[in-house]
């Protein structure tokens, strides 16, 4: 009889890394579908390129570092999908491919791999692409423009301004709030439909993949700051457009909650969310580009471990009063 002897606990819960990643993918599907419906089939191909190259990058890292295959855990696929959602549908495929590879090879793999990387791989790759190919990432096809699936002709690249461009003027965009909510506006593949993103958020909360702390603190901070420091006559409208425009929702729900790069302590998570929100508003108000989500989250990524260290939870019996 061969009895196994190992440490307790001897039973484990049903959660697995793979299941969590699958839940993230499920939560991203509404946003992806919205992107494809609103911006055309090219969005699907961009997503496919990003996922394929992210997986390829992960595979290369595994081979070079002689690690076990980490493809089945699904984290690389999530990275690829997240990156795609932050790109315009008109982005050249080769730019998307560079992004996918950079995300899993440099930002994730070479910085320690699953659970160890400091910066969000998808946003790190997006920041990298912004540096090299800003034109590809800041110009969006006009809504309803039929993008060709192959190489883009100059006619395709005729761009329409996104609501955020208007807001940088500053002026309230032409789009109605309902159009903003549904996503009938210009923007990146996965960021325009607030409805789709909120459905995904609901799934993540329902499945307890994330807690509400980071998204609530992030969006709450953006709401308060844009309400207190509005541009234009109507603070409420300004706040609503600020929340619905650009990538704040995508960032707050899917990027800032990335496990590896966000704090784990409850208080630290709230402070982290507030920091993301504050930096997003500051960057939007003062930056060169209309958007600030990417850099806001990346900066807070760098502070995640520090926040955990200094905002650790008060442990059972650790309070001074408890000792008498």
């Amino acid at each position: 009889m061969n009895l196994t002897v190992s440490a307790s606990p001897h039973i484990r819960g049903k959660d697995t890394t793979r299941r969590l990643m699958l839940d993230v993918v499920i939560a991203l599907i509404p946003a992806l579908i919205a992107g494809i419906v609103l911006q055309g089939p090219r969005a699907a191909l961009v997503a496919a390129v990003c996922v394929a190259t992210a997986l390829l990058g992960e595979l290369l890292v595994n081979l070079v570092l002689r690690k076990r295959s980490t493809l089945p855990d699904g984290s690389a696929a999530v990275t690829g999908l997240l990156l795609a959602l932050t790109l315009p549908a008109s982005v050249p495929y080769w730019v998307a491919a560079i992004g996918g590879l950079f995300a899993t090879v440099v930002v994730k793999g070479l910085c320690g791999g699953l659970g160890q990387n400091t910066f969000n791989p998808a946003l790190g790759a997006r920041a990298f692409l912004m540096l090299l190919f800003p034109a590809c990432l800041t110009r969006f096809p006009a809504l309803g423009a039929a993008l060709s699936l192959g190489g883009l002709s100059p006619a395709d690249v005729v761009t329409g301004a996104t609501p955020l461009h208007h807001m940088q003027m500053p002026a309230l965009p032409d789009a109605s709030l309902a159009e903003m909510f549904l996503g009938r506006i210009g923007g990146c593949i996965g960021e325009t439909s607030a409805l789709a993103l909120l459905i995904g958020c609901g799934w993540l909360l329902f499945r307890r993949v994330i807690s509400v702390r980071i998204p609530a603190a992030y969006l709450g901070t953006v709401a308060v700051l844009t309400l207190v420091f509005p541009k234009g006559d109507s603070p409420i409208l300004w706040m609503a457009y600020s929340l619905l425009g650009g990538g704040v929702l995508l960032g707050a729900i899917f990027m800032a909650t990335d496990y590896a790069t966000s704090p784990v302590g409850p208080v630290a998570q709230i402070v982290y969310g507030v920091g993301c929100g504050a930096l997003t508003v500051v960057f939007r108000y003062t930056g060169l580009f209309p958007e600030g989500v990417t850099y806001a989250i990346l900066l807070m990524n760098a502070a995640a471990w520090l926040l955990d260290r200094y905002l650790a939870p008060t442990r059972y019996g650790g309070r001074k009063e408890a000792a008498q």
Partner: protein
């Protein structure tokens, strides 16, 4: 349901495997090995020699300091005094007795003369001489716990939670002998003179709860508190928090929060010690799990080998994977089934390979679920990291020594990281570093 203590998990109970099995006395084995260390503290020294005849209930080992005696579980002859494997790990000297199957009682086994006139000091002496040590698992000498709680216990809690999955030993005991358990509790109350007496039970044992409720009609000053089932409700600190809302200060004892907690089986042993004069030589053991053929709740004499306990439950199933002393969350996996049942062994849980959720390639993805479930509100992922790195300063800063090793973090971990194993290494390193 409102959280009554921090964190916690909901593992599958699996108590249905043995919950309906009545409490039955196990047939006595031919040989028993009584370890000289069955409690926290100094081990006993043998009072008998090889070849001596012993009687059931005779004191055969005792010691100084934090120590309670051990007794002969049967009558017979001392065959050997030698190192034997111990269910909590390692080896320990044990007195091996060849059973004569007569169960001739020792003359010392007799009821106290005036049990209801005994002073607290006299009661404490009886508990000590009967070898009582906490029977929920930790095996802290009961007399010492009672004495240190005298004059500062506001709330006396009977721990009948049995929050570990699979185990139904306290459940079976409470269904069979609710009155005796409460009589034992009343004895402890006489020592401690608390303002409030609470029986804490999880709400997954309706039949036992009904029995206790019925028996409590004789004890109007004792309240029954049914708690929503959640592991580790029955951990001392968590039960104190769930019942009183108070926290035991870090590094302190329950008395520092005005509480004293005794396991239901310990209270039953106290009752038998005082009213029958019977020392602690028998306890209820649940033999259960998918890896054993006929799960049972057995009254087992201390010193009976796991081998025989398992045989009494129909033997091991073909696909048995682990045999545990205790429950699946905090129990100790056994490699050698010649280990004896001690005062602290409340269950022999046999898991089959279907329960194996361990991973060859554990990875922390920083999901933070370990923090959410930690009942002490520590940061398990960082503790594990620093324990592996040997960073003793960080382990102190993050209060590794407050960890109760309940296993919630490792249970909840989607990356299947063996967190508790890491913490034990870290605690050992801290101890060595302190030397």
């Amino acid at each position: 349901m409102k959280s009554l203590f921090f964190g916690g998990v909901h593992p599958e109970g699996r108590k249905e495997l043995s919950a309906d099995a009545p409490l039955t006395a196990m047939a006595l084995p031919a040989r028993l090995a009584v370890p000289l260390r069955q409690h926290i503290g100094a081990p006993c020294k043998p009072l008998v020699a090889v070849g001596d005849a012993v009687r059931m209930g005779q004191k055969i080992g005792d010691g100084e300091g934090l120590c309670v005696p051990v007794h002969a579980p049967v009558s017979g002859v001392v065959e050997a005094i030698e190192d034997r494997p111990h269910p909590s790990g390692g080896a320990c000297p044990a007195i091996v007795i060849k059973n004569d199957f007569l169960d001739t009682p020792d003359p010392a086994v007799r009821p106290a003369a005036n049990p209801d006139q005994l002073t607290p000091d006299e009661l404490i002496t009886i508990l000590h001489d009967a070898g009582l040590a906490g029977m929920g698992g930790a095996a802290f000498p009961t007399d010492v716990k009672a004495r240190t709680g005298m004059g500062r216990t506001e709330t006396l809690i009977l721990n009948a939670c049995e929050c570990e999955p699979y185990i139904t030993a306290d459940d079976a005991l409470l269904r069979a002998r609710p009155g005796d358990v409460l009589r034992g509790l009343a004895l402890l109350a006489r020592i401690l003179d608390p303002k409030r007496i609470v029986v804490g039970m999880e709400d997954n044992k309706p039949e036992a709860a009904g029995q206790v409720k019925e028996a409590l009609k004789d004890y109007p000053n004792v309240e029954l508190k049914l708690l929503p089932t959640r592991y580790p409700q029955g951990a001392e600190k968590q039960l104190i928090q769930a019942v009183t809302g108070r926290q035991v200060p870090s590094g302190g004892l329950p008395k520092d929060a005005g509480c004293a907690v005794f396991n239901a089986a310990t209270a039953y042993a106290a009752c038998r010690a005082v009213y029958e004069g019977m020392p602690l030589i028998e306890r209820v053991v649940t033999v259960t799990g998918e890896g054993v053929n006929q799960p049972r709740n057995l009254a087992v004499r201390v010193g009976t080998s796991f081998q025989e306990v398992v045989a009494a439950a129909g033997g091991l199933a073909d696909d048995v994977w682990k045999v545990l002393s205790g429950g699946p969350m905090m129990g100790v996996a056994q490699g050698d089934l010649s280990v004896p049942v001690t005062k602290a062994v409340n269950a022999v849980v046999c898991l089959s390979s279907a329960q194996n959720g361990e991973s060859d390639d554990p990875v922390c993805i920083r999901c933070g679920k370990c923090l959410e479930v930690c009942p002490i509100r520590l940061e398990p992922l960082y503790l594990y990291r620093f324990a592996n790195a040997g960073d003793l300063d960080a382990l102190k800063r993050l209060h590794l020594t407050d960890c109760i090793e309940c296993g919630c973090c490792a249970y909840a971990c989607p990356g299947k990281v063996p967190l508790v194993e890491g913490f034990r290494k870290g605690k050992l390193a801290l101890k060595e570093g302190a030397k």
